[in-house]
């Protein structure tokens, strides 16, 4: 089966500074890919590159980016706009931030729909209300008549998801959609995202810091470090048998209810644009060898079942 999204050897830079390096990932219909990594590792940049919203300073320098066989790098601007919202959706971190604060939610739904063609008035209404109830927002009429600031954070985030999903896109990009919500609401939103996936077969690319969310909802995990994907694989393979020292450190840093103390990762990742020899994690790696700081070749090491890392010395 061909993947709905295929990213190959993607390099992206901002103002000439290379941020993403050699990113290769694939995502299949109906699957959820979790992207993890510490702040500044390039997770948002990756999502923005996919949806073509890198802004004036961002540039894709090299690589391939294909959505359902469509080349997203060479696509015309006009055609890209038509894909966004219709076949590619995006949800942002701050609930409500993606909505205009001084326009009613209903108007913003209509705007999103009318950007992609003329719809029958009745049809539009049922469509919006259905999508809202899909997210357990039963009070649809009232919500459409409200402004974003009148709703709670959790409700806003669900409305934002409904807004992104209203045209049933095949791929939903979600940039930390739950991090700004409190824990109980987080769980609901995660649950509803999974329901949406089940109902519409939407493929999702989820950026999150929350390993709990990861272990609960995703199918595959991509671990990013300093603009590279350093480990990729099915959730269980990566969680149970992490091969890259950075992944291990990340998993060790998951807060536990009982027992183990949280282990941070000392040190800083390399600064973007400043060259480094060998592995970008070497300076912070507890099991680094001399070779890691010099001539190490960053090629994927296969562990079978699609699981690979950029570290040649993986061990269990």
């Amino acid at each position: 089966m061909t993947p709905i999204l295929s990213i190959q050897q993607l390099d992206v830079s901002y103002c000439g500074t290379r941020i993403l390096n050699d990113v290769t990932l694939a995502l299949h219909t109906g699957k959820i890919l979790g992207v993890v990594g510490e702040s500044g590792s390039g997770k948002s940049t990756l999502l923005q590159a996919v949806i073509g919203l890198l802004g004036d300073h961002g540039r894709i320098d090299h690589g391939k980016l294909e959505f359902d066989g469509i080349d997203l790098i060479r696509i015309k601007k006009k055609d890209m706009r038509r894909l966004r919202g219709k076949r590619l959706g995006m949800v942002f971190q701050h609930p409500g931030a993606s909505m205009n604060p001084i326009r009613k939610i209903g108007v913003q739904f209509l705007e999103a729909l009318h950007a992609h063609g003329d719809f029958d008035k009745k049809e539009v209404r049922t469509r919006i209300l259905n999508m809202l109830s899909e997210l357990r927002l039963t009070d649809g009429e009232r919500i459409l008549n409200s402004y974003p600031f009148e709703l709670s954070g959790g409700m806003n985030q669900r409305v934002a998801i409904a807004l992104a999903m209203v045209l049933h896109p095949e791929l939903l990009l979600a940039d930390e959609p739950t991090s700004a919500l409190d824990v109980t609401v987080q769980a609901q939103v995660v649950r509803q995202l999974m329901d949406l996936r089940d109902h519409f077969g939407t493929a999702m690319m989820m950026v999150t810091h929350n390993m709990g969310v990861i272990s609960y909802m995703v199918d595959q995990i991509a671990v990013m470090y300093a603009g590279r994907v350093v480990e990729y694989g099915n959730k269980l393979d990566v969680m149970k048998h992490p091969q890259h020292p950075y992944t291990k450190a990340l998993i060790a840093a998951i807060p536990q209810l009982h027992g183990r103390k949280m282990v941070g990762i000392p040190g800083q990742p390399p600064v973007f644009g400043e060259p480094y020899a060998g592995c970008p994690f070497a300076a912070r790696c507890t099991s680094a060898r001399a070779a890691c700081r010099q001539e190490l070749k960053l090629v994927p090491n296969d562990y079978g079942n699609g699981h690979w890392t950029l570290c040649p010395y993986g061990c269990d």
């Binding site: 919203l53 959706g89 931030a97 993606s98 909505m99 326009r103 705007e111 402004y147």
Partner: protein, 313 residues
């Protein structure tokens, strides 16, 4: 409801206006010789101190200050705003005759300013750091740097003297308003183009623009239905403040073009120490500023649901 808020705000204005009138009355009383002295000066004759006392008593000038103030205020409300020794007539009709000219000039220069600065500001923001933006910014810089009287003289020189297209001064119907209008509008447009640009740029960087883009909303819709609407909140406030200062009469421009508005009236009055006019002018300014502030607030309320609903709660 917005009406309840409006009524509340108007009621709040009453003490403010009391304060301003009281202050201005007190200042005038302390700064000037009183009416009897003025009459003496004006008529160039001496009045005996006994007669002066009689006249002061007749005019109520020997009463306590606060009583005089309330009497004066009561007269103001009935349209009796004193007598101008300079023009030999009541101040109220004098003022009412000058007001339409000022209103007209305010309106025309605001319209021209909005028509120039809003499109240019938006264009400049959308084409940020491209050639169009640089050209617009260059001209707005020049427009900002030129003093008003210089622009006035320049326009007079070119359009009235060299080309002979427009009358130099006075009010001869439609054409006479062009030069003072553009003199005012050029400086204001320069200022507002920059402000509109800054506001639109700020809005363009907000998250909801990213959200709209991610939903595939067309660029034109984002600009007109979202960014512009949100920018209006700021722009309206700025414009309202300018309307306030224009309604006060733009003394320099009105004087240069001999535009018969309240600005020239006040300049004349100040030059001739015609206190009755000055006093009315001060009150007018106070009413304008307070009134414009109120209207701005109400518009802001109307435009921004966040504030609107706070007021309701």
């Amino acid at each position: 409801m917005i009406w309840r808020y409006a009524v509340k705000r108007v009621l709040q204005l009453i003490p403010i206006l009391f304060g301003i009138t009281l202050l201005s009355y007190a200042l005038m009383q302390s700064a000037s010789a009183d009416t009897v002295d003025m009459m003496m000066q004006k008529r160039g004759m001496l009045i005996t101190p006994e007669n002066q006392a009689v006249m002061r008593h007749e005019m109520g000038l020997d009463q306590p200050f606060i009583l005089q103030y309330f009497q004066w205020l009561g007269k103001i409300f009935t349209g009796d705003m004193g007598y101008s020794y300079l023009k030999n007539m009541d101040v109220f009709p004098l003022f009412m005759k000058a007001l339409p000219s000022t209103l007209l000039l305010t309106l025309s220069s605001m319209v021209v300013t909005v028509c120039i600065s809003v499109p240019l500001g938006i264009l400049s923001a959308v084409r940020q750091n491209k050639i169009t933006d640089y050209v617009i910014r260059f001209f707005s810089f020049i427009g900002n740097a030129l003093p008003g009287f210089f622009v006035a003289l320049l326009l007079l020189l070119v359009f009235a003297l060299w080309l002979g297209w427009l009358p130099v001064t006075g009010n001869h119907g439609f054409v006479s308003i062009l030069l003072p209008t553009f003199t005012l509008a050029i400086a204001m447009s320069a200022k507002y183009t920059r402000q509109v640009r800054a506001t639109v740029l700020e809005e363009l960087n907000k998250d909801y623009v990213m959200g709209c883009l991610a939903r595939g909303v067309k660029g034109r819709t984002i600009l007109l239905a979202n960014v512009l609407k949100n920018s209006m909140l700021t722009i309206v406030t700025l414009l309202a403040l300018s309307i306030g200062s224009l309604l006060g009469g733009t003394a320099i421009v009105e004087s240069i073009f001999m535009w018969p508005g309240v600005g020239s009236l006040a300049v004349d009055a100040i030059g001739n120490r015609d206190y009755a006019i000055i006093q009315v002018y001060v009150i007018w300014m106070a009413v304008i500023y307070v009134g414009i502030n109120l209207i701005t607030d109400l518009i802001y309320h109307f435009l921004d649901p966040r504030i609107r609903m706070q007021g309701e709660g």
